[in-house]
Symmetry: C2
Subunit: 344 residues, 2 copies
């Protein structure tokens, strides 16, 4: 059955890790196909057991596919969304794993017909090392996975993506795309810039060689994000420029506050370090609880990936082709999830 | 034999980890004694097997002890150096594990008589969690351990500290105290401030709760140093103020450079991330080689801790009491190690 196919566009670290997770399910009723602009990536993903099959083209990957997972830097995803439309069967679901969500949600609304259901996603996991070689089925275990359904995506499409997330061991977090980008700028994008700044600060200094001899695990950890995929980092900053610059300004203010504590004396410094230790320890010991949207029980992996793909998806696709878009149901779901409609 | 005793002053994370390492040696010919201002710390260290015996006072720990390891925040070490002198036998060796070296080297020169040999130390290892409960004999395995012998310390005293370092699995790095503090400011102290700034930036914002829900391993790693012992952090900043403020200024400049790259456009951002990734990957794959001082073979752990303490130390102590300070030999060693004499 052709529709029981999942296509992964981009088999780098994240795409290949998803493939490994999907392939490890017992009794799976779907085929996993992967395609990568860099053929050696998809070849390696196939070799690692992350794919049933490499596709030679976007067309081959998309044709008759029920679920497409876009796992490439966000700016390249724009073109993929435009190019993939002619090959997808009606009712197909697209999700992504890109680091920013506002732009891709806008592109999805712009380029995709109503018959294609877009549910954005962003796993808050990763490694500084890119490429399929570093992939692992466990990469997402215990991670938060932001989910941003498009207002046009139907309930079943959302359920499939939730099932995907859960089957990979992650916890879905419904969030508005603009909110996601604001907060991701704070907890992820500006920390990446801080990592780059710390590394460059020492690397570009005359004392680099001597200083690096003294460096320990603290320096390695703090600069780890500076080893991330440059294209991905560039795309993050370009598509989330305003929020990133806002939080970068706040970081610069904090550094000035710390400088002022040096001037204020020993007690001010001790207060700063003491209150920060308390707050951070509280955050680590008792992390804030995740929102569970009222009345919406996320389906188990069995319910979604499992049930939908083993036969169910075929029905769904047939139905999608015949029924009108279920506007009212969708609006209800959106309300429950607290998702705002996109601006016209 | 009383002199075959090692005393650990301060049984927190580092002191207890050293104790665990020392106690794990087979055929050890020494007793390990620990003392902590907070009695529950030394009690726990003893329970964990990091000590043969708790001492009830500095006097009890020091009396007749051949090697004293000071493992407390640097500003508290000043008082210890002053107080310990009357109890130590001539020829005794003091080392420390404090994060800054200039001040403690100056205090050692000021407070210690010629018969006490001070060899500064700083393991470039640690954890953000403090206290004996998080200690581990493996904490120093593979780490660099800065060694800053005082100009008055004799060759044998240096050898004992090198042996201590090696027996804990670390690699000694001879370095001038002022140089150490400059570079440690860059690779360790300013990264700690960056960690604090990143955490405070988000913690103090209105969006903290929502943002923290989205936080992943990147945020946790980048803010990890903000959970460090506040007293230790304060002491670091106070005793290394000038160097830290210098490097903090450089970090602030780097952040402005990054801001400029946003203005310069996509290519500038991509260049920044690409060159940083290349440089950091090179640093991780091929870290700069450690200096091995010419003509000085660091003794094996057997040669130093082992040989010296099992009988040898007794002879050394007797000899130290009768012979005049071996000025010329010391100067030769200093030259070989590239260690400058302290200013008068």
């Amino acid at each position: 059955m052709a529709q029981s196919r999942i296509a992964i566009i981009g088999t780098g670290l994240i795409g290949t890790s998803i493939g490994l997770g999907l392939m490890s399910r017992k009794d799976r009723g779907y085929e996993v196909v992967g395609v990568d602009r860099d053929r050696s990536n998809s070849r390696q993903a196939k070799k690692m057991g992350a794919l049933d099959r490499e596709a030679g083209s976007l067309e081959e990957a998309a044709e008759g596919t029920g679920l497409v997972i876009i796992a490439i830097p966000v700016m390249a995803a724009r073109q993929i969304l435009q190019n993939i439309v002619p090959y997808l069967p009606p009712g197909a679901i697209i999700t992504d794993v890109c680091s920013t969500k506002s732009d891709i949600m806008r592109w999805a609304a712009e380029f995709l017909p109503e018959t294609i259901h877009f549910v954005g996603g962003h796993p808050m996991a990763g490694k500084e090392t890119s490429g399929p070689a570093n992939a692992s089925a466990d990469l997402f275990r215990g991670a938060t996975w932001a989910v941003t359904p498009s207002p046009r995506a139907d309930e079943q499409a959302v359920a499939v993506v939730l099932g995907l997330v859960e089957s990979l061991g992650a916890t879905p977090l419904y969030i508005d795309p603009a909110e996601h980008d604001q907060y991701a700028a704070a907890v992820s994008h500006v920390p990446l810039l801080a990592s780059v700044a710390l590394f460059r600060m020492i690397r570009d200094s005359q004392g680099w060689e001597d200083a690096s001899l003294l460096s320990g695990p603290g320096f390695r950890d703090l600069t780890r994000l500076a080893s991330g995929d440059p294209m991905m980092s560039r795309d993050i900053m370009t598509t989330n420029r305003e929020a990133v610059l806002h939080w970068l300004g706040r970081l610069q203010n904090e550094l000035n506050t710390i400088r002022a504590a040096f001037d204020a004396g020993n007690d001010a410094l001790l207060d700063l370090f003491s209150s920060t230790q308390l707050d951070r320890d509280a955050f680590i010991t008792n992390p804030p609880q995740r929102r569970v949207p009222e009345g919406v029980a996320p389906p188990s992996a069995q319910d979604s990936i499992g049930r939908l793909f083993v036969g169910g998806l075929y029905d769904r696709l047939k139905e999608a082709q015949t029924r009108p878009a279920a506007k009212s149901d969708d609006a209800g779901l959106k309300r429950k999830l607290g998702i705002r409609d996109e601006e016209p």
